[in-house]
């Protein structure tokens, strides 16, 4: 007879078989048997967070920077409810997370037992799938299936709820053999005829644009390579969503910058005026499209996505190719090479006028701002951070708000998996715990959380985690004492009624850093900024950097919601010099 293992042991046997090296978690009554086994499985390292939300975001940061699924372990009741935000965040941004939660013993389920909650009920709408394991014999199968569901097709979070009695019960365990096939929910059977149609559209277009998203990054490093090949081969301009940054090098001249609500003038105008839009792994989110009725009115639209439900959800497209973007791009490139070897040459002439137009938009210099000698402008701070870290292989996470947009606009990403931000859900407090996960996955790399002072206070307790495991993350706070994006909307759209958007009693971040046992650095003037950033970079410990920036700076350019792409608000420089039409100003 084969050896019998307890449910708790099986959890770790499964994690070992799945190649999991790091898990983020917090113990509690209903997961104690699992925690009891931790010592017997040295290949799985546990990182103790300070709040379960932190475990979830750390798992997200781990997953997004490494391409492997992130694993979180939490207890029943409050443990499970605390991680709901992170699960929802992962669901919106398609991040593979496996969450294992403890549950009260099966005989107590439904009795309102201590720390009982309907975990599978609560997490049903924010996971790809979840399971309540009622029989220890199912446990191994369920956990392996959970990894499969999380990582195949469009990735996303899953949850396995394990009652405490199941963790004690014993059964046999058979080693897991990883199957090559994708799960039944992954669609990858696009047809050659669709690729041919795409190439036909591409060769007919005179004003084409690539619009790429997080799907390219989720598809793996190969996808980014193919994208580079495709873009340079065709000579088409390319713009990227917030989540797609890094898939194509931002320093390349074919890159128009980010599009959408705070995208560049050239990217948004090109999206509006193009005659062919090729969406690769993006989802026509409302922050991207603006007013749907006037979204890119004259273009043929192609949508390449692994998730069939993304097609025609927000924007009706002319050609849909459902499949893994790596596969689709690789077949497209192969077909071009075979059937139209002179594609690039013949095409250059055709789209040269289009590039001229784009250059004109580019010359507006929409990311420009009025710098100051007295106060640190937040854009300047991000630019300096970029200049001083660009030679290192830097990983950036962010919180949510103005600082996030400035980071996206001014930090130039040249590689995939280097940019971790909460886009879909917009979770303030994401960046700090995510940075912990990124640092765990990439021990010797520089990890910086570009933060806002309001966001970072939501998960500040995780500094304690960073200190405990000597994770030298750098928390670069653009401190303007306001919830900046809220303040900006109030200024522009609510008659400057700054209702509750100012934080009157902020902590002293330098002293806070010292209290946590890490290093605090403060910069208040532009001339000391560089030295202070260098000091931060030379510190081999976690750092909280309090960068005091202009309190009332706004994030431009901006498309006010409900407006089409060609009605952007530009920054103060342009407004002063009247480079743009009066239309933009009347909106303010």
């Amino acid at each position: 007879m084969s050896k019998l293992y307890s449910g708790a042991e099986i959890v770790f046997k499964c994690l070992e078989d799945q190649g999991v090296e790091s898990i983020f978690g917090y113990p509690g009554g209903a997961v104690l048997p699992i925690y009891d086994e931790l010592k017997n499985f040295p290949s799985v390292k546990h990182f103790l967070v300070r709040h379960e939300q932190g475990a979830g975001h750390a798992a997200e940061g781990y997953a997004r920077s490494s391409g492997k699924p992130g694993v979180a372990l939490v207890t029943s009741g409050p443990g499970a409810t605390n991680i709901v935000t992170a699960l929802t965040d992962a669901y919106m941004d398609s991040v593979p997370i496996v969450c294992i939660s403890g549950q009260v013993p099966t005989h107590l389920i439904g009795t309102d037992a201590f720390q009982e909650c309907d975990t599978t009920g609560i997490t049903r709408p924010c996971t790809k799938h979840n399971w309540l394991v009622k029989d220890v014999k199912d446990l191994a199968k369920v956990i392996h299936r959970a990894f499969e569901v999380a990582t195949t097709g469009r990735p996303g979070p899953v949850l396995v709820d394990i009652p405490k009695d199941i963790q004690f019960q014993k059964t046999s365990y058979t080693k897991y053999k990883k199957q090559k096939k994708l799960n039944g929910k992954a669609q990858n059977n696009f047809k050659q005829i669709e690729i041919d149609e795409l190439i036909k559209l591409m060769s007919g277009a005179s004003k084409p644009i690539f619009y790429t998203g997080g799907g390219v990054i989720n598809s793996g490093p190969k996808a980014s390579e193919l994208l580079r090949e495709l873009v340079s081969g065709t000579g088409f301009p390319i713009t990227s969503t917030l989540q797609g940054l890094g898939a194509f090098p931002a320093s390349d001249k074919q890159f128009l910058g980010m599009l959408g609500m705070h995208g560049t003038y050239e990217a948004n105008n090109a999206m509006h005026d193009c005659d062919l839009m090729i969406n690769i792994g993006a989802r026509f989110d409302d922050r991207i499209t603006g007013k749907l009725d006037e979204f890119s009115p004259k273009s043929k639209k192609v949508h390449i996505d692994i998730d069939p439900s993304s097609i025609n959800k927000n924007v009706k497209v002319d050609l849909a190719i459902v499949g893994d973007v790596t596969e689709v791009m690789s077949s497209t490139l192969k077909t071009i090479k075979k059937t139209k070897p002179s594609f690039a040459k013949s095409n250059k002439q055709k789209i040269s006028k289009w590039w001229e137009k784009i250059q004109k938009w580019r010359s507006v210099n929409s990311l420009d701002y009025i710098n100051s000698a007295e106060t640190i402008k937040p854009q300047y701070a991000v630019q300096r951070l970029y200049e001083l870290t660009k030679d290192k292989d830097t990983y950036i996470t962010t919180e949510v708000g103005q600082h996030q947009m400035w980071a996206a606009q001014h930090y130039k990403f040249d590689k995939p998996n280097r940019w971790m931000t909460s886009g879909g859900l917009g979770t303030m407090g994401y960046g700090l715990p995510a940075a912990i996960g990124v640092q765990v996955a990439n021990p010797n790399k520089l990890v910086v959380d570009i933060a806002g002072e309001a966001s970072v206070l939501m998960t500040m307790q995780e500094m304690s985690t960073a200190v405990q495991y000597s994770l030298p993350i750098k928390i670069f706070i653009l401190n303007n004492e306001y919830m900046g994006m809220v303040r900006q909307w109030q200024e522009l759209l609510h008659d400057k009624n700054y209702s509750e958007s100012y934080t009157a009693a902020l902590p002293d971040f330098v002293k806070l850093a010292e209290a946590y046992g890490c290093v605090g650095i403060r910069a208040t003037t532009p001339e000391e900024l560089d030295d202070k950033i260098i000091e931060m970079l030379n510190t081999d410990r976690p750092v909280i950097f309090d960068c005091r920036v202009d309190k009332i700076e706004n994030c431009f350019p901006m498309i006010p919601s409900g407006k089409p792409h060609n009605e952007m608000l530009l920054g103060p420089n342009d407004q002063k010099e009247k480079k743009i039409t009066e239309k933009g100003k009347t909106l303010v």
Binding site: G121, L132, V149, P308, S309, L493, S561
Partner: protein, 182 residues
């Protein structure tokens, strides 16, 4: 020019609404109905009626039939979103007007009154495969199977004839002929 005061976009044009019958084959496991119904409520889709039961105990399969109203785009989304659920095997979609598909609902109707009234009531139900399930001197329980709108009509007519209680199922559907939906 009016200022948009919301951080969200203004709703666009709404397309034409159609009634569709969506049939979903699912694993008969705990919570599967909640997943399907939760998808509808979470994404703001309508459920007009719902019928669900196990159809194959060996394969552990259940069949869920949902009548819903939506624009063509919404109906398409419903199907695609349903197909993404892990326990869902296949999804069929029929228009209510589809002649190739049979739709049926069942109702149990209790009428209380003297025999003249119950006879009249039975007469009203005649066209709809009426079956008497219970009969006393003062009451009658009739089972009818028909389309939703017919049952609606019958219920209205029976009000004056002593209808005291009605119990109805959701619609179930089956394609005509030898073909099976794959």
């Amino acid at each position: 020019m009016s200022k948009p005061k919301s951080a969200y976009s203004i709703p666009g044009k709404v397309g034409k609404m159609d009634t569709h019958i969506i049939v979903v084959w699912v694993d008969n496991e705990a919570g599967v109905l909640a997943r399907v119904v939760g998808l509808f409520s979470g994404r703001g889709y309508n459920i007009e009626s719902l019928a669900v039961a196990e159809i194959d105990s060996k394969k552990n399969l259940s069949r869920i039939t949902i009548v819903t109203i939506g624009t063509p785009q919404v109906i398409e989304q419903i199907k695609l979103q349903l197909k993404k659920l892990v326990p869902v095997h296949k999804v069929a979609d029929f228009k209510r007007e589809d002649k190739k598909v049979i739709f049926k609902e069942m109702a149990l109707l209790k009428i209380v009154g003297n025999t003249t009234k119950t006879k009249k009531a039975l007469n009203v139900c005649k066209k709809y495969n009426a079956v008497i399930l219970d009969k006393t001197k003062k009451s009658i329980v009739i089972q009818i199977t028909a389309l939703r709108r017919d049952i609606d009509k019958v219920s209205v007519k029976l009000k004056s004839l002593g209808l005291v209680s009605a119990s109805r199922t959701g619609a179930v559907a089956m394609t005509r002929g030898a073909e099976v939906f794959k």
